[in-house]
Amino acid sequence: MLGYVAVRLLSAIPVLGIVAVFVFFLLTMIPGDPAQVIAGDFASPEQVQQIRAALQLDRPLAERFVAWALRLASGDFGKSLFSGIPVAQLVGQRIEPTLMLATMTVCIAVAIAVPLGLVAAYKPGGWVARASMTVAVLGFSLPVFIVAYLLVYPFALGLRWFPVQGYVPLSQGLWACLHSLTLPALALSLLYIALIARVTRAAVLEVLREDYVRTAHAKGLAERRVLVRHVLRNAAVPVVTVVGIGFAALLGGVVVTETIFSIPGLGRLTADSILRRDYPVVQALILLFSTVYVVVNLGVDLIYAAIDPRIRY
């Protein structure tokens, strides 16, 4: 087990290394003088010179890359070009809302999608099956901001159950925080629900044909027990896998959702920083998001063993 974890951790390094190289060379893809482009049209020559010095653009490329990678390794992500605040500090301030939003979204999505997929497979012709497959195809067809407005219109503007936008920090109470995130989390979860429900249905259909399910029925187990203990548990591996893979879509959705709902999280910071060309912040955020994705999927691999005792590392 420990050996397996070590191997997986090591195999994540080249992936993150490639992301880091890519993130670094994004800067070189800017046509013309990056310092001028980053500074914008109204910058004074001094400002341009400042940015050039901050990014060390006057040094050779290879030298810059090595210096950057070394600083990164020591945890120094540089300073924001926009505010001058160290990137690590800037990012640290924004983690809480995004963490809350992502956690809530995953919980909502799994809580809705797994039962939906299970019932859809169990009663193929039924209305739940049809409804869930409609939700699935809608989830892939609606951009997250349209889903957001479909929720905001009735529930925030009409019924006024939830705020139209804004975030209540955790320090003001868990309930208030969750309440302020309800609509964003619901909007964000639709695509995720679609992904998970689709895979759950396919996996459960597969398992339902297995002999051991028939045996379980034959020995007179209650229907519910068969479904949960025998079917769902055996269908869990692909479901958990898609929860991990879907995490990339979730993190991307965070950028849009936080912008629409004015949530001061990492997604909002990303969108703002990209539009401001705050290059060090963008670099750090892309690396952070990718690392989270890789770590989540590493975690998913380890969960396999817990779900399925046949999997041994």
């Binding site: 080249p14 992936v15 993150l16 490639i18 992301v19 890519f22 994004l26 800067l27 893809m29 800017i30 046509p31 482009v37 193929p124 195809v137 809608l138 892939f140 067809s141 609606l142 951009p143 997250v144 901001f145 349209i146 407005y149 219109y153 503007l157 695509l191 992904l195 689709r198 396919a202 259909l205 879907g246 990339a248 879509a249 993190l251 991307g252 959705g253 950028v255 849009v256 912008t259 990303t270 969108a271 990209i274 539009l275 060309r277 963008v282 955020l285 892309i286 998001f289 990718s290 994705y293 890789v294």
Partner: protein
């Protein structure tokens, strides 16, 4: 964005007769093909219609839908109907270009990675890395940094979709390369390009087609999201994403600015996704059920 991954099956091509029979049993597929064809036709004829997306009419700003203006007018008095019609061109164009580029790049990478062992490790690690960056993030970063030209937008939207296509193709090639007919072609001294293109490619065409359909749909959504975030098509272009971004500020007083392009986008993407699902079920009866 997150297009579902086409399942891998190497079903044989049906005879024409059974294809027709299968189509008749799938009215939903035909309806959706009809919807997409209608949009495509609109995109082609819109330059010849008496609708101008750029004409400003400050006296008739934010008018609700009426007989004269069926979709209403926006905040500078432009016709929402005209802009929605013109937006069809942008969305379909971007979708088509992205699907084509993704297919070309993904199929090439998938074929090479699946067939040439030495390349597999390197190519697939790069694909893993691209997949680890959220699609929206990758696309806005590319567009914002390089500048919003049509080529940049298409490349930026294609990049995150390529790994999934490559993986689909690679999975198929790994199965095929062990089969007798590929082995026979290799023994007969077939050139690498002949084996890959003539012998292997046709057998993975089904899953590639399905995946390309999903990419088509996902690309249109991503284009709208990019415009919506202000990192997409230049703001003066009448794309659905731009219209929705502008309409966002007037949501409470003039919802039609956002609603009509949203409906158009949803119907078109929905139709294409359903076509993808139906194609998958037709090409791979195992997964249909």
């Amino acid at each position: 964005m997150a297009a579902p991954e086409a399942s891998m099956s190497l079903a044989n091509a049906d005879t024409p007769v059974s294809v027709l029979a299968a189509l008749r049993r799938r009215p939903l597929f035909l309806i959706c093909v009809g919807i997409v064809a209608a949009f495509a036709l609109l995109a082609l004829v819109v330059p010849f219609l008496p609708v101008d997306p750029a004409v400003l009419n400050p006296l008739r700003r934010l008018r609700a839908p009426s007989m004269l203006e069926p979709f209403g007018t926006d905040h500078v008095g432009r016709s929402v109907l005209a802009r929605t019609l013109w937006g069809t061109q942008i969305s379909l164009g971007v979708g088509l270009a992205v699907a084509a580029l993704t297919t070309l790049a993904g199929v090439s990478i998938g074929l090479l990675a699946g067939y040439i062992r030495a390349l597999d490790m390197v190519l697939m690690r790069v694909m893993d890395a691209v997949m680890a960056v959220p699609a929206i993030l990758l696309a806005i970063a590319l567009v914002a940094l390089i500048g919003a030209g049509p080529v940049v937008i298409v490349v930026a939207i294609s990049m995150p979709e390529i790994p999934r296509m490559a993986r689909t193709v690679r999975a198929g090639v790994l199965v095929l390369r062990e089969l007798a007919f590929v082995e026979a072609a290799t023994i007969c001294g077939g050139r690498l390009s002949t084996i890959l293109l003539r012998h292997i490619l046709p057998s993975v065409a089904g899953p590639v087609l399905v995946q390309a359909t999903y990419v088509f749909a996902a690309a249109m959504i991503l284009e709208a999201i990019l415009s919506f975030l202000g990192a997409g098509t230049p703001p003066d272009v009448a794309s659905w994403g731009n219209m929705m971004a502008e309409g966002r500020q007037y949501l409470e007083i003039a919802p039609w600015i956002l609603v009509f392009p949203a409906i158009a986008l949803t119907i078109l993407v929905l139709a294409i996704n359903v076509i993808g699902d139906e194609l998958r079920d037709m090409l791979d009866p195992e997964s249909a059920r």
